[in-house]
Amino acid sequence: VNQYFLANTLAISETDDPHPDRRFCIFVGTRVFHGSERVARLLDTISQVAELDDIVARMTEGDSGSAMSHEQVLAAIETQLIPSGVVSRTSGSAGEVTQRSPYLFFSRTLISATMVGRVAPPLSALFAPATAIATVLLCTGLLLLWLVGLAQSGSISAALSDFDMSLADSSLFYLLVLVSFIMHEFGHAAASHRFGSRPAEIGIGLYLVFPVLFCNVTQAWRLPRKARVAVNLGGVYFQLIVCAVLAACQLATHSDVLTLVMYANLVSMLVTLNPFFRFDGYWIYSDLFRLPNLRDSAREVTIAALGRAARSLLRLTPGAAVASKPALRLYAWSSMLFFTGFIGTMLAGMWRLASTLPQLWGAALEKYQRQPPLEALVDAGGHAMMLAIYVLGCILTVGFIVSALRHAVLAVRQACSRTALTAGVTAAQGTMP
């Protein structure tokens, strides 16, 4: 008797995506999928009955839009559901599943999902439309006032260049930066709660060379597009509020530490809107243009184009162009240009660091000797940690690049040999144009 079981608990919701393959958002445990109406119905049926005959009996009835024949049911289970690990032939077994490649390393939870779930609801009131508009206007006004004041008193670098950071100052700086960034993450969590999905944990990890804080809002996949964009913007919105509060405090106290914290926040707000790294800008672009798995899709577009270029160079039959949205093609090519620049800058930075390491080491030692012991210890610890993160990040990034290049070369070679074979067969049949 053929029996099939779901690997984990199932939750299905309808999306607002017009594409038939993305009509439903399907959660199987913590994994999330886009699927067609038939797949969603099939999974729902498997969650209720296990035997193939029963599954088929239920799937063949009903309207023709989602009904499936015996063969279709079997084919869908065997070629889609079992290989993807969401269905297995034995109860309670998830089977051999290849998870999506992770993009965050050494991630650790800072605030548990339970705690985030408690704090997010009261904060979500800030996403009521009238409140949000008034808050954005007020905070932007305050920030502009602060920036005008700063411009009148001299540039930001001039304000910082005379600034001698003591241990107390740097502790306050680190603390305020951490609080600002945690508030940024709570912005995502609060928006997620506001629009009806459950936010999970807030954590810390390493993404390329960047130490990052993150909020896991994977449940937001079930939300409509506009709500997802609001979740993406929630972080910058909360950081804007934090900046306005800091600006008011800085205007009142004229504290240099606060100026520095403001600077870190403003730079971070701009960086986070960059769509090429997987920061908030990435999700905004992905959601606005309905391009799920944007990074992978962009890579496929680039590899397909490189394959076509290689075939053209080798004078082989040009392969069929892969249909893709203009927004995806624009992203794919801009992303390639951006990362070429980023990798160049990173390599130059590594070289600069390696070549000036003796001078840096000398300058640091000299500074530690001038400092009180505790301050020197904290400073040395901070430097060692930053250097370790940077070097580790560089190694990881180089690993990513090598793996991506290997993947691209293999894919292009495969495309060329396949076309060569097809071209040979076509030529033998005498239909070569």
Partner: protein, 51 residues
């Protein structure tokens, strides 16, 4: 059973209709100020040895 599946594939069943695409986890990340930033701030006072 495998034979039936293979037969179906040969007969050109619309597999796109049964497509299940796994989505990436939505981790909304914010980069903490980078190492360069910290070094620069630390060096404001005494000048950066890299310059």
């Amino acid at each position: 059973m495998d034979m039936i599946v293979n037969e179906q594939m040969k007969n050109g069943v619309e597999f796109a209709e049964f497509k299940l695409t796994e989505l990436e986890a939505r981790l909304e990340m914010a980069a903490l100020p980078m190492a360069d930033f910290w070094y620069c701030c630390k060096c404001f006072n005494g000048g950066c040895p890299q310059d």
